[in-house]
Every structure is written in structure tokens, then in C-alpha cells.
Point group: C2
Chain length 330, copies 2
């Protein structure tokens, strides 16, 4: 038997599916107040050997992430954790890696984030604001619009998310170049390494930051980077705020060195009220919510259940992270 620490609300939602694991998994349910129950009775985690965990959206939504992470890290028997996110720059994951605990990240949010990225660029290209104005004025006037067709995209980081962005852009007839740490591995798309980014920026209409935050990628987008971009280029950050030197991005936007920034992540989150990004006419701000597609949670549930089954049966986990390659973000 394996002991699973799981959000009580997730147990309620997935009661039918979890019933299949009754003789293999004991459920320890974290309630909304952070307390833990087993079979309806309160228990103390100090008395329990936890073997596996699922950092689900329930835990995040209930603001239990810290309690939950601490509980898992305290258990000397921990073997596997399923994360709800793609990024692994949180120190929690580094600690798991140090302890040799298996870790699988999530691609459940990838389709949602890919839609957000393409939609945000189309939003800028199509001119819906102008259209709305003409419509309000009952004015039969056309607007010419930029096309993704034949545009050039540099997708920095071709993981689960970057790959889906690339597939969608390609279907529109756009041209994709990917950036990966090892650009020599086989891929569907032409690849360059991180050291060749700046030399390739002058051709790019859209630059998407979809890479992990590591000591190497921190501050990747700085004055030198932005200076290579085209004045009509768009930058999209759905990775991490620390990938971008925000002051230098603001300067580039102010002097029209680039056309637009789509920013879902920031160095400080929530974005401080005094940030100039909020009311900058060339910036779309969203609150780290590009993952909030209505299908993300059910895809996350399916991934967890499939991986729970794989874990129990000693099979390969989907999205298992090679934790020996996990690189610190600082």
C-alpha cells in the first residue's frame, strides 16, 4: 500500500476514479484549513509515512501550497510527486531532486497557454479595437491586418508548451525556429542554441519566452537582446518574469524599439500596483493566468490518474523529469 497526500476537494471530484485504487493507495486528505484526515478521521502527518503527492490546482487555489510542500518534504518515505505546472524553478523541486524523489511535471496547461499565445498575437495583428470602433460608429470601413501566415517566430524553449505553440503557428503558415539548450538533437523544427539567439532576432516577428528559468536564462531579455529585435516585433512571456529585465523592456517599448509585449508573468507577482506595465499602451498584462483554459483542470486530473497508475505498477511516468538535469534558478 502507498500513502497519498491529496487535496480533499480532489478526492471528492475524483471519487469514482480513485475507487479503482482502493486496495493499493491510502488517501490522506488535506482539508481547506490545512488539517489532514484519513477515512474521515483527523490524523497527524507526523505519524504517517507519505509515499506520494499531487500538487494539484486545488492545493494552489486553497493557498495550501506551502503547507503541502512542507508536509511532503518532512516525509522520509516520499517517492514520487506530481506537479501541476511545467516550471520547476521553485526551490521545492530542487529539494525533491536533491533527495532523489521522482518528479513528474504537467503538460495539462500547455494547450491553454498555446492558445493564449497565438490569440494574443492575433489580437494585436487583427485590429479588433479598430473594428469595434468602426462597428460602434456604423462605419463600413475595412482594416488591413497583419498575418501569422509567413511570419517568423522564435520560440525560446521547445518543451511541452513551446512545441504546441510551434504546431499552431506552423498550421497558420508561420515559420518557426526553436531555441533549445542542445540544438543538435533531432526536432520537427530548425533549432538554434541560446548563444545564437541575439544573432537571429532581426528576422523575427514574434519572440516567445517558453523556457525554464535557470541561472543561465535569468535576465535573458535585456537591452542587448531587445536592440536586435525589429521595431514591429512582438515579445510574449509565458515563462517566468525573471527571464526579462523589466526596466530595459519598458525602455524599449517607450522608444518604439519593439511593437508590443504580451506579459503573463512578472518578476514580482502579483504585479505591484505602481508598475508601469499596467497602463502602458503597448503591453497586455495578464495575471499569470495563461494556463486558465477551461480544459486545464480535467487534463490535469487525467494526467495524475494515469501517472498514479504508472507509479503503482512501476511503469514509466508521463512527463517524468530527469532531476539530475534540474538546474537551479539562482
Amino acid at each position: 500500500m502507498k500513502n497519498l497526500l491529496i487535496a480533499a476537494s480532489a478526492v471528492k471530484r475524483l471519487a469514482t476514479q480513485l475507487a479503482n485504487f482502493t486496495d493499493k493507495v491510502n488517501l490522506f486528505e488535506m482539508q481547506a484549513d490545512g488539517s489532514v484526515t484519513h477515512g474521515g478521521e483527523p490524523v497527524s502527518l507526523a505519524d504517517i509515512d507519505i509515499h506520494c503527492g499531487w500538487l494539484s490546482s486545488d492545493i494552489m487555489a486553497a493557498k495550501l501550497t506551502r503547507d503541502y510542500a512542507i508536509s511532503l518534504l518532512k516525509s522520509s518515505t516520499l517517492e514520487w510527486v506530481q506537479s501541476l505546472s511545467a516550471g520547476l524553478d521553485d526551490p521545492f523541486f530542487t529539494k525533491l531532486a536533491e533527495k532523489g524523489i521522482r518528479l513528474s511535471n504537467s503538460d495539462a496547461q500547455a494547450p491553454a497557454i498555446a492558445e493564449y499565445v497565438v490569440a494574443s498575437v492575433l489580437q494585436r495583428y487583427q485590429g479588433f479595437d479598430i473594428r469595434k470602433q468602426f462597428q460602434n460608429d456604423a462605419k463600413w470601413q475595412a482594416n488591413d491586418f497583419k498575418e501569422i501566415y509567413n511570419s517568423n517566430w522564435l520560440i525560446i524553449g521547445l518543451g511541452n508548451i513551446g512545441q504546441l505553440v510551434a504546431d499552431r503557428v506552423t498550421a497558420f503558415g508561420g515559420n518557426v525556429t526553436g531555441v533549445k539548450r542542445d540544438p543538435n538533437r533531432a526536432n520537427d523544427y530548425p533549432l538554434i542554441g541560446f548563444d545564437n539567439i541575439n544573432a537571429n532576432l532581426a528576422q523575427q516577428d514574434v519572440v516567445v519566452l517558453a523556457c525554464a528559468l535557470t541561472a543561465d536564462t535569468r535576465d535573458l531579455v535585456d537591452q542587448a537582446f531587445l536592440a536586435q529585435m525589429k521595431p514591429d516585433a512582438i515579445i510574449v512571456n509565458i515563462g517566468r518574469g525573471d527571464l526579462v529585465k523589466e526596466d530595459e523592456l519598458l525602455i524599449a517599448l517607450d522608444k518604439d524599439a519593439i511593437d508590443f509585449a504580451v506579459l503573463d508573468v512578472f518578476r514580482t507577482e502579483p504585479l505591484p500596483e505602481k508598475s508601469r506595465f499596467w497602463n502602458h499602451p503597448k503591453v497586455l498584462v495578464t495575471p499569470h493566468s495563461s494556463n486558465r483554459g477551461l480544459g486545464t483542470d480535467s487534463r490535469g486530473d487525467s494526467l495524475f490518474l494515469a501517472n498514479l497508475d504508472a507509479y503503482i505498477n512501476n511503469k514509466v511516468l508521463k512527463n517524468e523529469v530527469n532531476t539530475t538535469e534540474l538546474r537551479p534558478a539562482v
Copy 2:
């Protein structure tokens, strides 16, 4: 030698490319005022045998379409016409067909229209208006959004345009069913016939009208059609206004029988100022301009030049219309 009637502005733009045809094609240039010149000298079309024509965007933009069409139809030697549009419901084309004149339509606008369709649905799904409001208020608040991923699309008419819409939707993980006159021909997508549309509407999240206007498709979208649609479904019309009974669409929108209508074409164009579509909160109106992507004209130029070469050399024309199948729209 073949005599080509062509817009003077097109000759100017494509001077280099047309130079390759000097010993095979005589250029008769229609000026902005409708007069025609040859080698810089005014000529009367009554004295000239015209063999081929190109109804280009230049002709449209200069509002010379009627003059141009009449000039072509008067010529007893006419052999081939290249159109700039996909639709062939204008009586001009029926007349050409009756005379047995070769006709090629255009797919140059298809990538632009496909982007417009997907962008308009994403515009509705993503909630950019709410995002903008939150941003204006410096409010760190997420919005959940609908996804194309796993949504169901019925694409009525899988010609050049419908096909490109289908490819893009599929790349997003959406499910496409196509409607064709002959649903038994092989296709990349599952097909149904026009007589099965209503029975399939209840499953559809998005319905796209991308079919030709014929006597059979006129008034296709009526009360019975709309009554089968889901209350959260979107209808997109980039075909022809006469495909839709507009009064019945307005009633369906008013009583929330469907969620939204994206309308680029109307029964009367320009859309009359008094039309309720202009200020309906559940309608996006654009002025027959979904083709106005910035790449459309150069794709149209390339298509014309390739087909001029094919015509001169008795080769197969790209997008040649089987005019024996051309069905009247009335």
C-alpha cells in the same frame, strides 16, 4: 500573341515579372478612369480582340469592376479570366461559363480569411475585453477562458478557405466536421452532406459558413437551423450574406438561442446604417474584409503570374473552375 486586359496599376507593380511575357502577351491597360491604353497610347476596345483578363484587386479598388466585366464580355475572342475571389455567384461568372470561357478563381485570400475566422472565435473565447478592464484597473485578477482544444467545428463548405480553417482548428486540437455537396469523396476530415446539417448542429461549438452561394444554399441558416444550435455556440459567416436569413438570426441572438455571430458578409452591402447588427452586443460586424490580410495581394499577384504562364503554355491552371458545375445563385 495573346491580348490581356489588365489594370494599369497592376502593370506598374509587376513590370519586372510581366517583362518575361513580352513576346507572348500584349498588355491593354485599363486606367483609373476606365479608359484603355496600349504602349502608352489610347485605344478603343471595340477594335481589339481581348483573349484574357485578370479581375484584380486594383480593378475592385478603382471601382472599375463593372466597366471591366462589360469589356471582357464584349470580346468574342475571350478565352480565360482570372478572378480575385473564391465566390462565383456573381452573374458575370455565369455568363463566362455559358460562353465556355475558362475561369480560375483565387485562393490568395484564403490564409487571411482563415486567420480572421480563428482569431474572431479566440477573441470571443479568450475574454480580451475583461482582461483589458482588469488591466486598466491594475487588478491582478484572472479570467478563465474557453478553449478551441477539444471544441467541435462544423465547416460548411470545405473549399480553399474552409480547408485552411479546418487545418488551423485541428492544430489547436479542435474537432472538425466538413459539409460538402458530395460527402462521399475522400477527404482529410469526416464529411456530411447538406441534408444532414441540422441533425449535426447540436454537437457544434462553432459553425462556419464557407460555402458557395447557390440556389440550394441561399437562406441555409434559418429559424430551423438556428434552433438546433447550442446556446453557447458561435456562428461565423465569411461566405455570402444570402446564406443567412438575417431577421431570424437576430431573433436567435436576442433570445440567447446562440452565443455570438461573427459576420463579414451581409445580404445588403454596405450594411445599411439602420441595421440592428451594428450595435448588437452579440455580433462582430466587419465590412466584407476578412480577406484583407497584408499578404493577400502579393499571393494574388503570384497566382495570376503562374496562371498566365500556364495559360500561354496550355498547361493546367491552378484553381480552374469546372464551369459546367457552376450553379446559379438564384
